[in-house]
Protein backbone atom coordinates (compact mmCIF):
# COMPACT_ATOMS: atom_id res chain seq x y z
CA UNK A 1 0.00 0.00 0.00
CA UNK A 2 1.42 3.37 -0.88
CA UNK A 3 1.42 6.34 1.40
CA UNK A 4 0.12 9.39 -0.40
CA UNK A 5 2.05 12.54 0.27
CA UNK A 6 -0.50 15.26 -0.35
CA UNK A 7 2.01 18.11 -0.58
CA UNK A 8 4.02 16.48 -3.34
CA UNK A 9 1.00 15.30 -5.26
CA UNK A 10 -0.44 18.81 -5.19
CA UNK A 11 2.64 20.51 -6.60
CA UNK A 12 3.76 17.67 -8.85
CA UNK A 13 0.77 15.67 -10.02
CA UNK A 14 2.72 13.09 -12.03
CA UNK A 15 3.19 9.77 -10.33
CA UNK A 16 6.90 9.69 -11.06
CA UNK A 17 7.65 12.82 -9.05
CA UNK A 18 5.62 11.45 -6.19
CA UNK A 19 7.38 8.12 -6.33
CA UNK A 20 10.75 9.87 -6.45
CA UNK A 21 9.84 11.92 -3.39
CA UNK A 22 8.75 8.80 -1.60
CA UNK A 23 12.00 7.09 -2.51
CA UNK A 24 14.03 10.05 -1.19
CA UNK A 25 12.02 10.08 2.01
CA UNK A 26 12.55 6.35 2.50
CA UNK A 27 16.29 6.80 2.11
CA UNK A 28 16.33 9.71 4.54
CA UNK A 29 14.44 7.58 7.05
CA UNK A 30 16.88 4.73 6.60
CA UNK A 31 19.88 6.94 7.39
CA UNK A 32 18.08 8.71 10.23
CA UNK A 33 17.21 5.40 11.86
CA UNK A 34 20.92 4.88 12.58
CA UNK A 35 22.15 8.43 12.72
CA UNK A 36 19.72 9.82 15.30
CA UNK A 37 20.34 7.28 18.08
CA UNK A 38 24.10 7.49 17.44
CA UNK A 39 23.92 11.26 17.74
CA UNK A 40 21.98 11.00 21.00
CA UNK A 41 24.64 8.61 22.32
CA UNK A 42 27.52 10.91 21.43
CA UNK A 43 25.81 13.97 22.90
CA UNK A 44 24.92 12.12 26.12
CA UNK A 45 28.43 10.78 26.65
CA UNK A 46 29.90 14.21 25.93
CA UNK A 47 27.50 15.90 28.39
CA UNK A 48 28.31 13.25 30.97
CA UNK A 49 32.02 13.83 30.51
CA UNK A 50 31.72 17.63 30.72
CA UNK A 51 29.49 17.44 33.79
CA UNK A 52 31.95 15.16 35.61
CA UNK A 53 35.05 17.22 34.73
CA UNK A 54 33.64 20.75 35.01
CA UNK A 55 31.84 20.18 38.30
CA UNK A 56 34.62 17.91 39.57
CA UNK A 57 32.21 15.18 40.59
CA UNK A 58 34.05 12.61 42.73
CA UNK A 59 34.40 9.23 41.01
CA UNK A 60 32.59 7.37 43.82
CA UNK A 61 29.47 9.40 43.08
CA UNK A 62 29.59 9.39 39.30
CA UNK A 63 32.59 8.11 37.38
CA UNK A 64 33.22 9.84 34.06
CA UNK A 65 33.02 7.98 30.75
CA UNK A 66 36.81 8.00 30.49
CA UNK A 67 37.18 6.24 33.82
CA UNK A 68 34.51 3.72 32.84
CA UNK A 69 36.28 3.04 29.57
CA UNK A 70 39.55 2.68 31.44
CA UNK A 71 38.01 0.16 33.85
CA UNK A 72 36.50 -1.69 30.95
CA UNK A 73 39.98 -2.13 29.43
CA UNK A 74 42.01 -2.64 32.61
CA UNK A 75 39.53 -5.00 34.25
CA UNK A 76 38.84 -6.91 31.07
CA UNK A 77 40.68 -9.91 32.50
CA UNK A 78 38.12 -9.95 35.30
CA UNK A 79 35.05 -8.81 33.39
CA UNK A 80 35.37 -11.12 30.41
CA UNK A 81 35.23 -14.41 32.40
CA UNK A 82 32.32 -12.91 34.35
CA UNK A 83 30.60 -12.12 31.07
CA UNK A 84 31.06 -15.74 29.96
CA UNK A 85 29.56 -17.04 33.21
CA UNK A 86 26.54 -14.73 33.08
CA UNK A 87 26.13 -15.46 29.38
CA UNK A 88 26.25 -19.19 29.96
CA UNK A 89 23.81 -18.90 32.86
CA UNK A 90 21.37 -16.86 30.78
CA UNK A 91 21.52 -19.04 27.68
CA UNK A 92 21.25 -22.30 29.62
CA UNK A 93 18.29 -20.91 31.56
CA UNK A 94 16.69 -19.90 28.27
CA UNK A 95 17.40 -23.29 26.71
CA UNK A 96 15.84 -25.15 29.63
CA UNK A 97 12.97 -22.67 29.64
CA UNK A 98 12.31 -23.52 25.98
CA UNK A 99 12.50 -27.26 26.62
CA UNK A 100 10.39 -27.10 29.78
CA UNK A 101 7.91 -24.53 28.47
CA UNK A 102 7.28 -26.28 25.16
CA UNK A 103 7.08 -29.75 26.72
CA UNK A 104 4.59 -28.58 29.32
CA UNK A 105 2.59 -26.66 26.70
CA UNK A 106 2.34 -29.76 24.51
CA UNK A 107 1.35 -31.86 27.54
CA UNK A 108 -1.28 -29.29 28.50
CA UNK A 109 -2.83 -29.20 25.05
CA UNK A 110 -2.73 -32.97 24.62
CA UNK A 111 -4.37 -33.63 27.96
CA UNK A 112 -7.01 -31.42 29.50
CA UNK A 113 -6.46 -33.30 32.76
CA UNK A 114 -2.77 -32.39 32.86
CA UNK A 115 -3.61 -28.76 32.23
CA UNK A 116 -6.27 -28.61 34.92
CA UNK A 117 -3.95 -30.31 37.40
CA UNK A 118 -0.75 -28.37 36.87
CA UNK A 119 -1.47 -25.00 35.27
CA UNK A 120 -2.37 -23.27 38.58
CA UNK A 121 1.00 -24.30 40.01
CA UNK A 122 2.85 -22.95 36.98
CA UNK A 123 1.11 -19.65 37.66
CA UNK A 124 2.03 -19.75 41.37
CA UNK A 125 5.65 -20.40 40.44
CA UNK A 126 5.50 -17.41 38.12
CA UNK A 127 3.83 -14.91 40.45
CA UNK A 128 6.03 -15.69 43.47
CA UNK A 129 8.85 -13.12 43.31
CA UNK A 130 12.05 -14.86 42.33
CA UNK A 131 14.01 -12.75 44.84
CA UNK A 132 12.06 -14.53 47.54
CA UNK A 133 12.79 -17.99 46.16
CA UNK A 134 16.48 -17.49 45.43
CA UNK A 135 17.75 -17.66 49.04
CA UNK A 136 15.86 -20.94 49.48
CA UNK A 137 17.44 -22.38 46.36
CA UNK A 138 20.81 -21.40 47.77
CA UNK A 139 20.09 -23.45 50.87
CA UNK A 140 18.77 -26.55 49.11
CA UNK A 141 21.04 -26.64 46.06
CA UNK A 142 24.72 -26.95 46.88
CA UNK A 143 26.16 -25.92 43.54
CA UNK A 144 25.82 -22.15 43.27
CA UNK A 145 25.70 -22.25 39.47
CA UNK A 146 22.88 -24.80 39.47
CA UNK A 147 20.98 -22.77 42.06
CA UNK A 148 21.36 -19.63 39.94
CA UNK A 149 20.33 -21.55 36.85
CA UNK A 150 17.16 -22.79 38.53
CA UNK A 151 16.40 -19.26 39.61
CA UNK A 152 16.77 -17.83 36.11
CA UNK A 153 14.82 -20.74 34.65
CA UNK A 154 11.82 -20.12 36.90
CA UNK A 155 11.60 -16.55 35.61
CA UNK A 156 12.12 -17.39 31.94
CA UNK A 157 9.95 -20.42 31.39
CA UNK A 158 6.49 -19.02 32.03
CA UNK A 159 6.12 -16.73 28.98
CA UNK A 160 7.16 -19.64 26.78
CA UNK A 161 4.70 -21.99 28.46
CA UNK A 162 1.78 -19.58 28.33
CA UNK A 163 2.43 -18.31 24.79
CA UNK A 164 3.01 -21.77 23.34
CA UNK A 165 -0.12 -23.09 25.04
CA UNK A 166 -2.22 -20.32 23.49
CA UNK A 167 -0.53 -20.90 20.13
CA UNK A 168 -1.16 -24.64 20.13
CA UNK A 169 -4.82 -23.96 20.83
CA UNK A 170 -5.27 -21.29 18.16
CA UNK A 171 -5.51 -23.56 15.15
CA UNK A 172 -7.93 -22.77 12.33
CA UNK A 173 -11.16 -24.70 12.94
CA UNK A 174 -11.70 -25.49 9.29
CA UNK A 175 -8.19 -26.88 9.05
CA UNK A 176 -8.96 -28.99 12.13
CA UNK A 177 -12.02 -30.34 10.32
CA UNK A 178 -9.98 -31.00 7.21
CA UNK A 179 -7.43 -32.97 9.23
CA UNK A 180 -10.28 -34.96 10.77
CA UNK A 181 -11.78 -35.75 7.38
CA UNK A 182 -8.41 -36.93 6.09
CA UNK A 183 -8.04 -39.14 9.15
CA UNK A 184 -4.98 -37.40 10.63
CA UNK A 185 -3.40 -39.02 13.68
CA UNK A 186 -2.79 -37.12 16.91
CA UNK A 187 0.87 -36.84 16.06
CA UNK A 188 0.20 -35.54 12.52
CA UNK A 189 -2.19 -32.97 13.94
CA UNK A 190 0.48 -31.75 16.34
CA UNK A 191 3.31 -31.85 13.82
CA UNK A 192 1.59 -30.37 10.77
CA UNK A 193 -1.14 -28.19 12.26
CA UNK A 194 -0.70 -27.21 15.91
CA UNK A 195 3.07 -26.71 15.88
CA UNK A 196 3.21 -24.34 12.89
CA UNK A 197 0.17 -22.45 14.21
CA UNK A 198 1.94 -22.05 17.56
CA UNK A 199 5.26 -20.92 16.08
CA UNK A 200 4.56 -17.14 16.01
CA UNK A 201 3.24 -17.26 19.57
CA UNK A 202 6.22 -19.31 20.73
CA UNK A 203 8.64 -16.85 19.15
CA UNK A 204 6.87 -13.96 20.88
CA UNK A 205 7.31 -15.82 24.17
CA UNK A 206 10.96 -16.49 23.34
CA UNK A 207 11.63 -12.78 22.92
CA UNK A 208 10.21 -12.04 26.36
CA UNK A 209 11.91 -15.06 27.92
CA UNK A 210 15.32 -14.00 26.57
CA UNK A 211 15.14 -10.72 28.48
CA UNK A 212 13.69 -12.42 31.56
CA UNK A 213 16.42 -15.08 31.59
CA UNK A 214 19.00 -12.31 31.88
CA UNK A 215 17.03 -10.60 34.65
CA UNK A 216 16.70 -13.95 36.44
CA UNK A 217 20.44 -14.54 36.08
CA UNK A 218 21.25 -11.10 37.49
CA UNK A 219 18.90 -11.54 40.44
CA UNK A 220 20.32 -15.00 41.09
CA UNK A 221 23.87 -13.65 41.09
CA UNK A 222 22.93 -10.83 43.44
CA UNK A 223 21.40 -13.21 45.94
CA UNK A 224 23.46 -16.36 45.48
CA UNK A 225 26.77 -14.88 44.34
CA UNK A 226 26.97 -12.90 47.57
CA UNK A 227 28.34 -15.92 49.36
CA UNK A 228 31.67 -15.11 47.77
CA UNK A 229 31.40 -17.74 45.08
CA UNK A 230 32.30 -15.07 42.55
CA UNK A 231 29.78 -15.69 39.83
CA UNK A 232 29.23 -13.52 36.78
CA UNK A 233 28.83 -9.88 35.85
CA UNK A 234 26.13 -9.07 38.39
CA UNK A 235 28.16 -10.33 41.35
CA UNK A 236 31.16 -8.46 39.98
CA UNK A 237 28.98 -5.35 39.87
CA UNK A 238 27.82 -5.89 43.45
CA UNK A 239 31.36 -6.48 44.67
CA UNK A 240 32.58 -3.36 42.89
CA UNK A 241 29.93 -1.34 44.70
CA UNK A 242 31.17 -2.63 48.08
CA UNK A 243 34.69 -1.52 47.14
CA UNK A 244 33.53 1.86 45.85
CA UNK A 245 35.08 0.89 42.52
CA UNK A 246 32.50 2.76 40.50
CA UNK A 247 34.39 2.61 37.24
CA UNK A 248 34.18 -1.18 37.29
CA UNK A 249 30.56 -1.05 38.44
CA UNK A 250 29.57 1.03 35.42
CA UNK A 251 31.67 -1.13 33.11
CA UNK A 252 29.85 -4.25 34.36
CA UNK A 253 26.49 -2.50 34.06
CA UNK A 254 27.20 -1.52 30.46
CA UNK A 255 28.20 -5.07 29.62
CA UNK A 256 24.98 -6.43 31.12
CA UNK A 257 22.95 -3.94 29.07
CA UNK A 258 24.82 -4.87 25.92
CA UNK A 259 24.14 -8.52 26.60
CA UNK A 260 20.43 -7.78 26.93
CA UNK A 261 20.47 -5.89 23.64
CA UNK A 262 22.31 -8.71 21.87
CA UNK A 263 19.89 -11.32 23.21
CA UNK A 264 16.92 -9.26 22.06
CA UNK A 265 18.47 -8.71 18.62
CA UNK A 266 19.21 -12.40 18.17
CA UNK A 267 15.69 -13.42 19.23
CA UNK A 268 14.19 -10.85 16.86
CA UNK A 269 16.34 -12.16 14.04
CA UNK A 270 15.33 -15.77 14.73
CA UNK A 271 11.71 -14.68 14.80
CA UNK A 272 12.04 -12.78 11.54
CA UNK A 273 13.81 -15.63 9.75
CA UNK A 274 11.17 -18.12 10.85
CA UNK A 275 8.17 -15.98 9.94
CA UNK A 276 9.01 -13.52 7.20
CA UNK A 277 7.74 -15.71 4.37
CA UNK A 278 4.26 -16.24 5.65
CA UNK A 279 3.25 -14.52 8.85
CA UNK A 280 1.36 -11.21 9.00
CA UNK A 281 3.59 -9.86 11.76
CA UNK A 282 6.64 -10.04 9.47
CA UNK A 283 5.01 -8.41 6.46
CA UNK A 284 6.29 -5.11 5.20
CA UNK A 285 3.52 -2.87 3.95
CA UNK A 286 4.49 -1.35 0.67
Amino acid sequence: MSVTDTTTSASAPTEDAEEAARYRRDRRMKVARWMLPSLVLVVTVLAWHLYVTLWEVPHYILPGPVLVAQSLIEDWGLLYPALLITGRLTLLALLFAVIGGVTLAVAFTQSKWAEMSFFPYAVILQVTPVVAIAPLLQIYVENAFVAALLCAWIVAFFPILSNTTIGLKSTDHNLEDLFTIYGATRWQRLRYLAAPSALPYFLGGLKIAGGLALIGAVVAEFVIGRAGTGLGLASTLLEASYRFNFGRLYAALIMISCMGVVIFAVMSLISYLALFRWHESALKRE
Binding site: L175, Q188, W278
Partner: protein, 261 residues
Protein backbone atom coordinates in the same frame (compact mmCIF):
# COMPACT_ATOMS: atom_id res chain seq x y z
CA UNK B 1 -23.49 -35.17 -23.04
CA UNK B 2 -20.04 -36.75 -22.70
CA UNK B 3 -19.95 -40.52 -22.85
CA UNK B 4 -18.07 -40.73 -19.53
CA UNK B 5 -21.17 -39.91 -17.53
CA UNK B 6 -24.27 -42.09 -17.63
CA UNK B 7 -27.71 -40.49 -18.04
CA UNK B 8 -29.26 -39.39 -14.75
CA UNK B 9 -31.58 -42.37 -14.44
CA UNK B 10 -28.91 -45.01 -14.94
CA UNK B 11 -26.31 -43.82 -12.48
CA UNK B 12 -25.02 -45.99 -9.67
CA UNK B 13 -25.92 -44.87 -6.13
CA UNK B 14 -23.02 -43.39 -4.22
CA UNK B 15 -24.63 -42.06 -1.08
CA UNK B 16 -28.02 -42.57 0.46
CA UNK B 17 -29.42 -40.38 3.24
CA UNK B 18 -32.57 -41.81 4.84
CA UNK B 19 -34.67 -39.90 7.36
CA UNK B 20 -31.59 -38.10 8.64
CA UNK B 21 -32.19 -35.72 11.54
CA UNK B 22 -29.82 -33.59 13.56
CA UNK B 23 -30.81 -31.88 16.80
CA UNK B 24 -28.53 -29.62 18.77
CA UNK B 25 -28.67 -29.25 22.54
CA UNK B 26 -31.81 -31.35 22.61
CA UNK B 27 -34.20 -28.82 21.13
CA UNK B 28 -32.72 -27.00 18.11
CA UNK B 29 -33.63 -28.98 15.03
CA UNK B 30 -30.95 -28.23 12.46
CA UNK B 31 -32.10 -30.83 9.99
CA UNK B 32 -35.41 -32.66 9.82
CA UNK B 33 -36.09 -35.87 7.96
CA UNK B 34 -33.68 -35.43 5.08
CA UNK B 35 -33.73 -37.96 2.30
CA UNK B 36 -31.25 -37.69 -0.50
CA UNK B 37 -29.89 -40.09 -3.03
CA UNK B 38 -26.59 -39.11 -4.55
CA UNK B 39 -25.61 -40.96 -7.67
CA UNK B 40 -22.22 -41.38 -9.22
CA UNK B 41 -21.51 -38.41 -11.48
CA UNK B 42 -24.19 -36.13 -10.04
CA UNK B 43 -23.64 -32.45 -9.49
CA UNK B 44 -26.09 -31.64 -6.72
CA UNK B 45 -26.63 -28.20 -5.23
CA UNK B 46 -28.15 -27.70 -1.83
CA UNK B 47 -29.87 -24.32 -2.18
CA UNK B 48 -31.47 -22.42 0.65
CA UNK B 49 -31.44 -19.48 3.05
CA UNK B 50 -29.06 -19.43 6.00
CA UNK B 51 -30.07 -21.73 8.80
CA UNK B 52 -31.69 -24.27 6.48
CA UNK B 53 -29.27 -26.99 7.50
CA UNK B 54 -27.33 -27.22 4.25
CA UNK B 55 -23.99 -26.92 5.95
CA UNK B 56 -25.13 -29.33 8.64
CA UNK B 57 -25.99 -31.80 5.88
CA UNK B 58 -22.45 -31.52 4.52
CA UNK B 59 -20.92 -32.02 7.96
CA UNK B 60 -23.05 -35.10 8.44
CA UNK B 61 -22.03 -36.51 5.06
CA UNK B 62 -18.35 -35.82 5.71
CA UNK B 63 -18.54 -37.61 9.05
CA UNK B 64 -17.66 -34.55 11.13
CA UNK B 65 -21.03 -35.03 12.87
CA UNK B 66 -23.20 -38.04 13.48
CA UNK B 67 -26.94 -37.81 12.85
CA UNK B 68 -29.30 -37.79 15.83
CA UNK B 69 -31.46 -40.31 13.96
CA UNK B 70 -31.72 -41.83 10.52
CA UNK B 71 -28.74 -43.09 8.59
CA UNK B 72 -26.30 -42.14 5.90
CA UNK B 73 -25.11 -44.98 3.76
CA UNK B 74 -22.01 -44.62 1.67
CA UNK B 75 -22.22 -47.09 -1.15
CA UNK B 76 -19.34 -45.67 -3.15
CA UNK B 77 -17.25 -48.64 -2.16
CA UNK B 78 -13.94 -47.29 -0.97
CA UNK B 79 -15.05 -45.92 2.36
CA UNK B 80 -14.90 -42.50 3.87
CA UNK B 81 -11.34 -41.64 2.86
CA UNK B 82 -12.50 -41.12 -0.70
CA UNK B 83 -13.75 -37.64 -0.04
CA UNK B 84 -12.61 -34.14 -0.93
CA UNK B 85 -13.81 -31.00 0.83
CA UNK B 86 -13.79 -27.28 0.00
CA UNK B 87 -14.91 -24.81 2.64
CA UNK B 88 -16.20 -21.28 2.31
CA UNK B 89 -12.74 -20.02 3.22
CA UNK B 90 -9.77 -21.36 1.24
CA UNK B 91 -8.49 -22.86 4.54
CA UNK B 92 -4.90 -23.16 3.42
CA UNK B 93 -1.98 -23.58 5.76
CA UNK B 94 -0.33 -20.12 5.59
CA UNK B 95 3.09 -21.51 6.54
CA UNK B 96 3.15 -24.03 3.70
CA UNK B 97 3.85 -23.44 0.03
CA UNK B 98 1.07 -24.04 -2.49
CA UNK B 99 2.51 -27.40 -3.48
CA UNK B 100 2.68 -28.55 0.17
CA UNK B 101 -0.90 -27.46 0.72
CA UNK B 102 -2.06 -29.58 -2.19
CA UNK B 103 0.10 -32.50 -1.04
CA UNK B 104 -1.59 -32.45 2.43
CA UNK B 105 -4.19 -35.21 1.87
CA UNK B 106 -1.44 -37.58 0.76
CA UNK B 107 0.86 -36.55 3.58
CA UNK B 108 -1.83 -37.37 6.12
CA UNK B 109 -2.22 -40.79 4.52
CA UNK B 110 1.51 -41.31 4.91
CA UNK B 111 2.28 -41.35 1.19
CA UNK B 112 5.76 -39.99 0.40
CA UNK B 113 5.86 -36.97 -1.88
CA UNK B 114 7.99 -38.70 -4.50
CA UNK B 115 5.17 -41.18 -5.16
CA UNK B 116 2.48 -38.57 -5.75
CA UNK B 117 4.48 -35.68 -7.15
CA UNK B 118 2.88 -36.12 -10.56
CA UNK B 119 -0.64 -36.12 -9.11
CA UNK B 120 0.05 -32.95 -7.13
CA UNK B 121 1.51 -31.14 -10.12
CA UNK B 122 -1.31 -32.33 -12.35
CA UNK B 123 -3.92 -31.03 -9.91
CA UNK B 124 -2.16 -27.65 -9.83
CA UNK B 125 -2.05 -27.63 -13.60
CA UNK B 126 -5.77 -28.38 -13.82
CA UNK B 127 -6.55 -25.30 -11.73
CA UNK B 128 -4.02 -23.26 -13.71
CA UNK B 129 -1.58 -22.65 -10.89
CA UNK B 130 1.43 -24.77 -11.87
CA UNK B 131 3.54 -21.61 -11.98
CA UNK B 132 2.67 -20.77 -8.39
CA UNK B 133 3.60 -24.05 -6.75
CA UNK B 134 6.45 -22.46 -4.78
CA UNK B 135 4.35 -19.48 -3.63
CA UNK B 136 2.94 -18.96 -0.16
CA UNK B 137 -0.83 -18.49 0.17
CA UNK B 138 -0.52 -14.84 1.17
CA UNK B 139 1.03 -14.09 -2.22
CA UNK B 140 -2.12 -15.25 -4.02
CA UNK B 141 -5.43 -13.50 -4.69
CA UNK B 142 -8.68 -14.75 -3.16
CA UNK B 143 -9.67 -16.58 -6.33
CA UNK B 144 -6.26 -18.23 -6.63
CA UNK B 145 -6.37 -19.39 -3.02
CA UNK B 146 -9.72 -20.98 -3.73
CA UNK B 147 -8.21 -22.76 -6.74
CA UNK B 148 -5.51 -24.18 -4.48
CA UNK B 149 -8.23 -25.42 -2.13
CA UNK B 150 -10.00 -27.06 -5.08
CA UNK B 151 -6.75 -28.65 -6.26
CA UNK B 152 -6.23 -30.03 -2.76
CA UNK B 153 -9.77 -31.45 -2.67
CA UNK B 154 -9.39 -33.30 -5.95
CA UNK B 155 -5.74 -34.31 -5.82
CA UNK B 156 -6.60 -37.74 -4.40
CA UNK B 157 -9.15 -38.22 -7.21
CA UNK B 158 -12.01 -38.67 -4.73
CA UNK B 159 -15.36 -40.00 -5.87
CA UNK B 160 -17.21 -37.32 -3.96
CA UNK B 161 -16.32 -33.66 -3.40
CA UNK B 162 -18.24 -31.58 -0.87
CA UNK B 163 -18.21 -27.82 -1.37
CA UNK B 164 -19.61 -25.47 1.25
CA UNK B 165 -20.33 -22.10 -0.42
CA UNK B 166 -16.80 -22.01 -1.79
CA UNK B 167 -17.23 -18.92 -3.96
CA UNK B 168 -19.50 -16.85 -1.71
CA UNK B 169 -16.71 -14.46 -0.70
CA UNK B 170 -15.46 -13.83 -4.24
CA UNK B 171 -16.41 -11.06 -6.64
CA UNK B 172 -18.86 -11.78 -9.45
CA UNK B 173 -16.30 -11.98 -12.25
CA UNK B 174 -13.99 -14.34 -10.38
CA UNK B 175 -17.00 -16.35 -9.35
CA UNK B 176 -18.20 -16.86 -12.94
CA UNK B 177 -14.72 -17.83 -14.00
CA UNK B 178 -14.42 -20.34 -11.19
CA UNK B 179 -17.87 -21.75 -11.95
CA UNK B 180 -16.79 -22.38 -15.53
CA UNK B 181 -13.51 -23.90 -14.40
CA UNK B 182 -15.20 -26.08 -11.83
CA UNK B 183 -17.38 -27.66 -14.52
CA UNK B 184 -14.34 -28.19 -16.74
CA UNK B 185 -12.51 -29.84 -13.87
CA UNK B 186 -15.42 -32.11 -13.20
CA UNK B 187 -15.40 -33.18 -16.83
CA UNK B 188 -11.68 -33.87 -16.50
CA UNK B 189 -11.74 -36.02 -13.36
CA UNK B 190 -15.35 -37.18 -13.44
CA UNK B 191 -16.19 -36.84 -9.77
CA UNK B 192 -19.49 -36.34 -7.99
CA UNK B 193 -20.09 -32.98 -6.34
CA UNK B 194 -22.41 -31.81 -3.59
CA UNK B 195 -22.37 -28.04 -3.64
CA UNK B 196 -23.88 -25.82 -0.98
CA UNK B 197 -24.92 -22.34 -2.11
CA UNK B 198 -27.44 -19.61 -1.53
CA UNK B 199 -27.19 -18.35 -5.10
CA UNK B 200 -29.95 -19.43 -7.45
CA UNK B 201 -27.87 -18.60 -10.54
CA UNK B 202 -24.85 -20.49 -9.39
CA UNK B 203 -26.86 -23.57 -8.52
CA UNK B 204 -28.63 -23.60 -11.90
CA UNK B 205 -25.46 -23.06 -13.86
CA UNK B 206 -23.55 -25.83 -12.11
CA UNK B 207 -25.90 -28.62 -11.15
CA UNK B 208 -27.98 -31.29 -12.70
CA UNK B 209 -30.05 -31.52 -9.54
CA UNK B 210 -31.00 -28.78 -7.10
CA UNK B 211 -32.22 -29.59 -3.62
CA UNK B 212 -34.11 -26.59 -2.25
CA UNK B 213 -34.13 -26.35 1.52
CA UNK B 214 -36.03 -24.25 4.07
CA UNK B 215 -35.08 -23.10 7.55
CA UNK B 216 -36.45 -23.58 11.08
CA UNK B 217 -36.44 -26.51 11.04
CA UNK B 218 -33.91 -27.19 8.29
CA UNK B 219 -35.54 -29.46 5.74
CA UNK B 220 -35.80 -30.31 2.05
CA UNK B 221 -38.84 -28.79 0.38
CA UNK B 222 -38.25 -29.41 -3.30
CA UNK B 223 -35.97 -31.18 -5.69
CA UNK B 224 -35.46 -29.78 -9.20
CA UNK B 225 -33.73 -31.30 -12.16
CA UNK B 226 -31.77 -28.98 -14.42
CA UNK B 227 -32.12 -30.88 -17.65
CA UNK B 228 -29.47 -29.10 -19.69
CA UNK B 229 -26.45 -30.78 -21.24
CA UNK B 230 -22.85 -30.32 -20.16
CA UNK B 231 -20.45 -28.79 -21.03
CA UNK B 232 -22.17 -25.57 -20.13
CA UNK B 233 -20.63 -22.27 -21.10
CA UNK B 234 -21.35 -18.56 -21.26
CA UNK B 235 -23.93 -19.26 -23.95
CA UNK B 236 -25.93 -21.36 -21.49
CA UNK B 237 -25.74 -18.50 -19.00
CA UNK B 238 -27.66 -16.27 -21.39
CA UNK B 239 -30.07 -18.88 -22.80
CA UNK B 240 -33.84 -18.98 -22.31
CA UNK B 241 -33.51 -22.44 -20.73
CA UNK B 242 -31.21 -21.04 -18.10
CA UNK B 243 -33.63 -18.23 -17.34
CA UNK B 244 -36.46 -20.75 -17.03
CA UNK B 245 -34.56 -22.96 -14.61
CA UNK B 246 -33.58 -19.90 -12.61
CA UNK B 247 -37.22 -18.89 -12.30
CA UNK B 248 -38.20 -22.37 -11.10
CA UNK B 249 -35.39 -22.44 -8.55
CA UNK B 250 -36.13 -18.89 -7.49
CA UNK B 251 -39.82 -19.66 -6.95
CA UNK B 252 -38.91 -22.70 -4.89
CA UNK B 253 -36.50 -20.62 -2.85
CA UNK B 254 -39.12 -17.94 -2.23
CA UNK B 255 -41.48 -20.62 -1.11
CA UNK B 256 -38.75 -21.83 1.26
CA UNK B 257 -38.24 -18.36 2.68
CA UNK B 258 -41.97 -17.73 2.86
CA UNK B 259 -42.62 -20.94 4.76
CA UNK B 260 -39.89 -20.15 7.20
CA UNK B 261 -41.12 -16.65 7.93
Amino acid sequence: MPAARAPLAERETLLQMSHVEKTFRGDIVALKDMNLQVNDGDFISLLGPSGCGKSTALRLISGLMTPTSGNIRWTGGQGNGDLGVVFQEPTLMPWARVVDNVYLPFRLRGTPYSEVKDDVLEALKLVGLEKFQRSFPRELSGGMKMRVAIARAMVTKPRLILMDEPFAALDEITRHKLNNDLLALREAIGCTVIFVTHSVFESVFLSDRIVVMAARPGRVIRELTVDAPYPRDEEFRTSADYAGFCRQASDALHQAIGEAA
